[in-house]
Subunit: 243 residues, 2 copies
């Protein structure tokens, strides 16, 4: 079982936090009978401030949300959670904290075995995949492993950005970085979905739908040894579960 | 002892590999009596192709260069090296390979104890610093540790890029990423020098000089708890050794 809503970004330019996806978020939780969400704030340093921001947004959606960092017993909180939201920030910090607190397995069990809805944005979206090897973040801390929750057997690159033909900058483009991942000898690195800002995945069990609010800017799929391919809104990407 | 030449980038736009820094590279090695350089290719997957490219450039500078990956005894090659060049690519891959081959200590000894000149570009520049926490690369592999050669007690962010005021992209800017590094609670993260493309450091023992070929585009220094500060060509940054 898996019910996932995975956003590339939390904010679109000039928008308020999560505003562009408010209808989708409301539907995702209410259609699954969830009115009270457990928030995982560990991608940021200031958990209190992060909770306030996210609580405000969710309360406008008519949803109650509480951050796990205030729970006296985090493991019980996870075991009783109706739904999860894992926010963006630094992906290394998020993963390391969850390893340190020994919470990954419990979240995984709730989502995979009990069908508890999981929403991620940016770092929270990376966390839902096989590993965090395609994060854009700096390794400001060193997690035990790069393996993540593994709800999806492939990688996502959130905030995917096309090369700028006018740039004079010689740092690697996003596409080059992904090709380095796919170039590791003797390792079958999984596909990478470059999810542009304003796009998201809706996953229900074995169905993956690509959604987005910016026309012709949805996602670019990188499969080892193949030419990258564009996918548009409403594409069915369920085939990625069988690769 | 330390004799270092640390470039932000290997290539400037429309230029050939290392061309913009050719005079500096020639002086760095010849003034130190070095005519034969050991190349560390491990930031890339294809070591043979990488060696060919770098060998060609160095031969135009009148310098002989051979890649360590072809050595039958890499430890001896390091112990006998007159000079090192560590090229760019993926910093995680570079560091992991050097940990796996158990070569870091030997390189460190040669440079620190024996005064062997070390040149780095991009990932090779990250490697010369305290750790790779401020690389721009994707964690395509997982090194044992993020600790690097530690010739300098601070961090460098190569290919440093200013925020684009016209960008609609909501991914973190480089400055935001560095502030996440400096925001880790209860950890005194070291200064980060944002080294723009076309800039480099020349280090001789306790003197660090900032150099660059693009006016007003040299480097931006981030110190935890302070306002970031611009530094121009010929700035003396030796104070960073005492922080």
């Amino acid at each position: 079982m898996r019910k996932l809503l995975l956003l590339s970004t939390s904010v679109l330019q000039n928008g308020k936090y999560l505003e562009y996806a408010s209808d989708v978020i409301k539907s995702f939780f209410t259609e699954n009978g969830v009115s009270k969400i457990v928030f995982i704030p560990y991608a940021a340093h200031d958990h209190d401030a992060y909770e306030r921001k996210v609580k405000d947004a969710f309360s406008e959606f008519g949803l109650e949300l509480n951050s796990i960092h205030k729970s006296g017993n985090q493991l019980s909180t996870i075991k009783e959670a109706q739904g999860f939201f894992v926010g963006g920030g630094n992906t290394f910090l998020l993963l390391k904290t969850l390893y340190d607190l020994n919470l990954l397995e419990a979240i995984r069990d709730r989502v995979v075995q009990d069908g508890v809805p999981y929403m991620g944005a940016s770092a929270g979206t990376n966390l839902a995949t096989v590993n965090i090897c395609t994060t854009n973040d700096m390794p400001i801390v060193h997690p035990t492993s790069l393996d993540a929750l593994g709800f999806l057997p492939f990688n996502i690159n959130p905030h995917y950005l096309d090369p700028d033909p006018n740039s004079k900058h010689m740092g690697e483009t996003r596409e080059t970085r992904i090709s380095e991942y796919h170039g590791i000898p003797n390792v079958c690195s999984p596909p990478v979905l470059g999810l542009r800002e304003g796009s998201w995945l809706q996953v229900k069990d074995d169905q993956i739908l690509l959604k987005g609010c910016i026309p012709n800017q949805c996602a670019r799929l990188f499969i080892r040894g193949q030419i990258p391919k564009e996918h548009e809104v409403n594409s069915d990407l369920s085939f990625l579960l069988k690769m």
